[in-house]
Subunit: 337 residues, 2 copies
Amino acid sequence: MATLSDVATRAGVSVSAVSRVLSEKPGVRVSVATRQRIHDAAKELNYRPNFTARALKSSRTHAVGLVVPGVTNAIFAELMRGVEEEARTKDYMVLIASTERLPEGEESIPRLMGEGRVDGVLVQFGDHLSGDDLRTVTDSGLPVISINTINPGKGGSVRVEDEAGMRLATEHLIELGHTRIGYAGGVPTSESGQRRLAGFLEAMAAAKLTVEPELVTDFGYYPKQGAQALDAMAELSTPPTAVVVANINAAHGVLSEARRLGIRVPEDMSIVAMHDTWTAEIAWPPLTCVRLPLYELGRAAMASLWEIINSGTAEDRVIADPAPELIVRESTAPPAR
Amino acid sequence: MATLSDVATRAGVSVSAVSRVLSEKPGVRVSVATRQRIHDAAKELNYRPNFTARALKSSRTHAVGLVVPGVTNAIFAELMRGVEEEARTKDYMVLIASTERLPEGEESIPRLMGEGRVDGVLVQFGDHLSGDDLRTVTDSGLPVISINTINPGKGGSVRVEDEAGMRLATEHLIELGHTRIGYAGGVPTSESGQRRLAGFLEAMAAAKLTVEPELVTDFGYYPKQGAQALDAMAELSTPPTAVVVANINAAHGVLSEARRLGIRVPEDMSIVAMHDTWTAEIAWPPLTCVRLPLYELGRAAMASLWEIINSGTAEDRVIADPAPELIVRESTAPPAR
DNA sequence: TACTCGTGAACAATCGTTTGATCATGCTAG
DNA sequence: CTAGCATGATCAAACGATTGTTCACGAGTA
């Protein structure tokens, strides 16, 4: 690896001259001739600025951390793609820190943040939003953008229109003629989970439909928990004719469980799910979903983080463009009647 | 952020004393009392070594790059989970670099590697293994482990038993009684693609079955290309009664296309796919798959990279434990007869 | 001629750690 | 009583880049 001083020697100038020329700051006084020699030398040696040195001097690493509950799900993938792409335009790199399967007493989050490895952090706590973790993150003093959760401390947040999305999903079922509608939600402590439930309740109320407590579950966002939710509803004396599932991963669980129980979808029961990932299309029946702009959420999150890094200002943003959209596939139909 | 010299001041000793004590090198001569004071001071100030400074001095960043074709697929997720977990045990961080949607002339790979950001790189080029990219990577002088491709230059590689896996899949269909078996493969330039095809051909040969060229396609590993493959086979005068699909993502495409064309799986056609991800279970019918140890592949890749970083030795490894395993679900059945 | 001023470039300190070299001290041995 | 030595700690030079300050030189002005 060629260093600045290698280039300097080859060009016959001082290190500082090289630094100034190559960093292209406005207002540097260097003659055209030297400038040229420096550029030539740099090219010949294939010079690349050493990132660690630069980071040490400037205390900017040009890297951000992305803390997510797990990497093996399509929702995360969409989000991450957005983050990655925006990061690229900002000349940033993304370090993934998954909180999945963290061994007890694991230190990776504090370490990621405390050692000056990153300029800021994007946090999406999933169902298991641990108070401790959250505090570690916000207390670190690093710029933080929290995804789908209003940041309790300082720091901005970015989220999607969960309520509107949920309303869309619920209204779709109502329009189809369903009146006995179940809700399979996430754990109640999660903020976005609360917003989704609110959206469901609003839509039901607007249609003057009653919501029986036994039809509202909150097991969680994973396939197994979706299955659990369906089990709970199936054993009721009169099960719902349609279920709104607050997360597509859980919806996949609902689907397999329905198959196991001999419940036909959509003939016996309609299913509509939150989030539209590519897995919705490969499911059977293909899932009717509400598409939330996850990719855009990722981009916005990274953009906000960049802003707060560079200007110190944190804002809470709601990503409303594109608006939540209902994608009708084959898991919903009018009630059997 | 407290620095070494902050700690030194508080403990009333020199910076070097602190450094030596905290880095716990064997054979440092420091009195118990001083040692104690240093530890106390460090704790009180919540000292954490600055990563950039350390990296600059030691030219070790304790980070590795993971270059993958794309992040939005379950195969990658498995792999990455393995890499991540192994990295954690080695006290390393993982930087993701996706080659997906790289704008023309994008420099992110050379930059990732050339600027001393990472100590080594894990590369998995997918279908689009670009010669240039590969060269950039191997020429950089950085430790490199290539995943599923024997490294053309120096540097180790790590792969799974593609042939054996493919044989397993093919034999399953043969045992079910199929004789006219199609093969939907990846692009022919990929090494693992060649190995898979070889495995298929071996199994067919061993059973003394003929392989008609028109039944062997090589469109690629993505859903759309799987669909293409099925289209090509469906328009033959006598389509195959079973198809081996060299990648589960492509198999999902095959499945939807089959539905579109009115081909029932497995009644009209059996499908067996390579790779067993969670999406196999949510598909309809659930896909019969061959499970390759992708998670273990990830771990092994990271472990190998770590070795080459620390000892300079590169080895080519084949991950054979656990062995490829056939997971029979509902996409395969005896031929219609 | 002496002075100022603008220009182009070099000097040198700094970021936080690591680490070989050095030094002060008290003790043992000759 | 002093040379020799182990011990415990400090000094100081890096690592590679950035950046405020200084310097040398020639042109322009009084």
